[in-house]
Subunit: 231 residues, 6 copies
């Protein structure tokens, strides 16, 4: 079976980072393909970036499917803002899962209220609106933002990790029973930081790959091969 991971921004190095994380969660009988946005921002930071990336994301998926006659069995939208998620879900007959969506739903099964740690204070309203759009705001304990960009992270990685841990702990203080680390720049850090936080840390890619491959096994998607699903 084939999982298509689409990165809606134009940075192939981010695509590679995401793919490496995705492979850590991929079931043994699945293969991973990737697609990268052909236009728009290298890193999505604003609503305008996000709107354009939505178009790029749709085109990247459609181009990939046009190339591969056998199609794919599930799609993961590899952007924390779930860019293009609803449009792809409407269009395709296989499961389509977003990083934030998958981690929010997984958090619901871990228990209680969840918190988000995001990088870049300007993205807080975007994530808050996205949580509301998913209809899951009732269980949101809070959002903490770290002010840091990629160069700052590279220059002082320990300081950055300390900031993340402190943000997690503020959320725990405020009632979060698990914390989601959001964004490509924190991909994989949940493994390093878990020991310093007293509640489970969730990673979007691990959740999304697990959900997408799991959904693809459900009858409603498996039946697609026989043309049974009408949507």
């Amino acid at each position: 079976m084939r999982l298509l991971l689409v990165n809606a921004n134009t940075s192939r190095s981010i695509t590679d980072t995401l793919a490496a994380e995705a492979r850590l969660s991929l079931p043994a009988d699945w293969q991973l393909s990737t697609a990268t946005g052909a236009f728009g921002a290298a890193v999505i930071q604003t609503r305008r970036d996000c709107a354009i990336a939505e178009h790029a994301c749709i085109e990247a998926v459609e181009a990939n499917l046009a190339e591969h006659a056998e199609g794919c069995d599930a799609v993961v939208v590899g952007v924390s803002l779930d860019t293009g998620l609803w449009a792809l879900r409407e269009t395709l007959k296989v499961p389509v899962v977003g990083l934030l969506e998958a981690s929010l739903l997984t958090a619901c099964m871990v228990g209680g209220r969840y918190g988000l740690v995001v990088v870049g204070p300007q993205t807080v309203p975007l994530y808050r609106e996205l949580v509301e759009r998913h209809g899951l705001a009732a269980r949101l304990a809070g959002i903490e933002a770290i002010a840091a960009d990629a160069p700052a992270v590279q220059a002082a990685p320990e300081q950055f990790e300390l900031s993340l841990v402190e943000a997690c702990n503020r959320l725990v203080e405020g009632g979060a029973e698990c914390v989601i680390l959001v964004g490509a720049v924190v991909a994989g850090l949940h493994r390093r930081l878990q020991a310093r936080v007293s509640v489970p840390l969730l990673d979007g890619m691990a959740c999304a790959v697990t959900q997408a491959c799991g959904l693809a096994r459900l009858p409603l998607f498996r039946a697609e091969a026989d043309g049974a699903r009408l949507t």
Copy 2:
């Protein structure tokens, strides 16, 4: 890996039915164990039944774990009212998933608003409250109840299936973009009825087994073996 399926009521024949459904969704490298409530109602129909079954459910799981030194890797609470879910989740270090919870969260990824078809009008308030307790009422398109009991279903199965299809279609009319069939008495019927309903039908057991086995692969649960998770 081992999945423990617990039936909170005392009917072993229901346990067997549920187990048969569960096996259809079980990944190849998993084994299934079952546990059945030792006291309480044979079929949970009221809030009082449900309260007592919660105790029976906890004891059944704890007895099973006491018998199996190797423990289990995930638990599915095999009752549509998610009986005992929160207490078990607090107690155990492996994923615990409920039938209704898993189907609601899966419905969120299938898209839009979802509807429920339940058997027994007296259970409607219980399910409505449960949806609210899961924090997912914002996407509930409606609940349709079928007035039927097990003997009536056996006496006229085609009439029962027709009622289910009509209920599904009323929900679609009201805006549901997928429908969850709720209860042991409808276990497996989603496969027979999908062709007569224009939106995806979801089955609690298929969703719950998929979610439980998927969650068990996530780092936060896999790390348990090494004592990393603190909860």
Copy 3:
């Protein structure tokens, strides 16, 4: 008329404390009976304790009613987590009232938004969920938790009372127009502490006894004697 006060945990000394408080609010023409859980935790502290106590609570009430041919006229569930409330309400034809429920509803008539002071930070999510389950979260100004257990309270009662007063005042600062003191360990303290807090303090037992005895006077419950009520 007879009020049945049920303590869902197994500690008879807590039952006695609760009964003493209940008598302070009991109308002159009422008598008080008590029942105590036969199994489960001595003090309910976790979701697992609470689930088992729910069963114990139902059995304790049913055993008491089996002993008293004349039945009772109202029931107060003497646990701040309203353990077993919904199941008993479904089963009995007399009013059943919980401590938290009664204080929340009374707070609504005192005015504005209310705050909760609870003992034990680990219970905050349980109380938050209970407020939501009662459908009264819209008027919750906040929950403050005191970290203290019964021995600590006995060792330094003045320090404990100071902590309670400070917690009340933080809630007032945050917009609470009345404060509910929650838990058996604070039973009766509202009388001592009222003078040090600028908004009304509510006590669960006073509210619950008042509500239960008042409800028993309403036509819908009085008519029970004539078999008029159908539930």
Copy 4:
């Protein structure tokens, strides 16, 4: 002890009707006084009527208290729209309870979701807004309106009662587990109609008198005599 019942509209015959109902729920050790609005509409039907009646209600209470040196121990606002409730509560140191408020809170303890039957379709938005203002909309199953005025009711009382019963049953069909009959024109009818409806019927005056006299017994209000309450 003295209960002051204030009718915010100017019709003394409505005051008398309300007082007769109130006396049926009054505890033995209480006396009833009444006050009637000195200006405004004879029957409140619009938002403009209601706004003016709010002023009349405050003045009627203040005039009554000026006349009675001993004050009163509780106030019931005898208008289904809870006219002047919040202003009086802010001003007085005794409990103030409204008809709709008291019946909504009582409904919460009877269980599940509640429905309203109102007279006059034009009042539906006013009642819907009032339920929301009380923060209790989450449990509202629906509002049914009867198109009838006082002359029509007198001309064909059986037809009117049939309309009420049918409205109650539509609400039960839609999930209401109790029904509140709203408005002076239906005062007392709950006793006649209960036998024809399968869920409990609630009457605003019975609920309000019970709540007001119960609240007056709580420490926070009893302490008033000693000047302890600071609000």
Copy 5:
């Protein structure tokens, strides 16, 4: 065209202040009339004041219309608590707009979440309830209260302005993307303070005059001249 500005309290100097602000936003082809409450408080500070002012507001508008045969084309209720708004809207066939309402709706079009700065901590619950009554609480980032009265403001205007700026900045810190300055005492200060706050400041009168005169141009109100609107 004529805009009627009604001040529901009895202070003519406040009416003059409000009128001066209103003229700054009035389109060139409009004239301004004012009306002042004939009874009640000089400055509305409590719920009781507000209830009486509602009556005064209705009478002041009706008296003004009785004097002016040509009527008016729009009404602005010049009180931040939107006193009398719903009653006047029900009664009149021209647009009626409140200060808080207009600034809340304008804030929705400026973007994201908004904050309120109010003068007088005791008014916070009144404004919170008003935001909820307008159905716009979902986008409320917070309410900050300044403890100051008119004499204090006059004695130390710079200190007052500093307090306002600090309150605005606390709201921005908490996620507000625009801030509404609420109350007659801050009328016009948005112009002076904008340079010291990083998000847009909104003023109730500017918003209300703009909305009222804009609404009056819409077909549904213009058609009134021909008797088309049925309400």
Copy 6:
């Protein structure tokens, strides 16, 4: 002053229809410019269409501004799905208003709850989500969908208008106190149909042009010329 009306789809004839409607509401001292999407669907009907149109909308506005050195004073997004609204608002320093947004906010000032009539049942979930995204779902009485496409409308315009009137009246029956006619295909019909509906009909373009030109007069936008606004 110059208003820029952008049509996010690629049909210039729809742009012309919208512009004709816009001119009916344009203040005397304003000029209208238009822009049309350069790629994407001729008529937006799906989520995929909408996602691509968002990109087209941003590019069309930016291209227009690049051509006009003097910029514009306000922007109306001439698509009922408010396509690109949030991205443009983030980017530009002048007011940006969407058709649905403006009519929802106007409906709030007309009073009570509002209903929507949309063309095409498949768009109902898109509009429901958009109302929720605007935070205004609390006042939504309902959405009625007409099954018709442009050719059907042209073939039987009277039948289409009758369907619209019936849909409006169903909404009024369900509690709507005003109705918004949604979509380019019903542009201007509010004038013809108002006489057959008992509550005010609102038109998106009339509301949006009025709001955009009104907002442009407010200090926060006027100050842009002097560089005061920081966003």
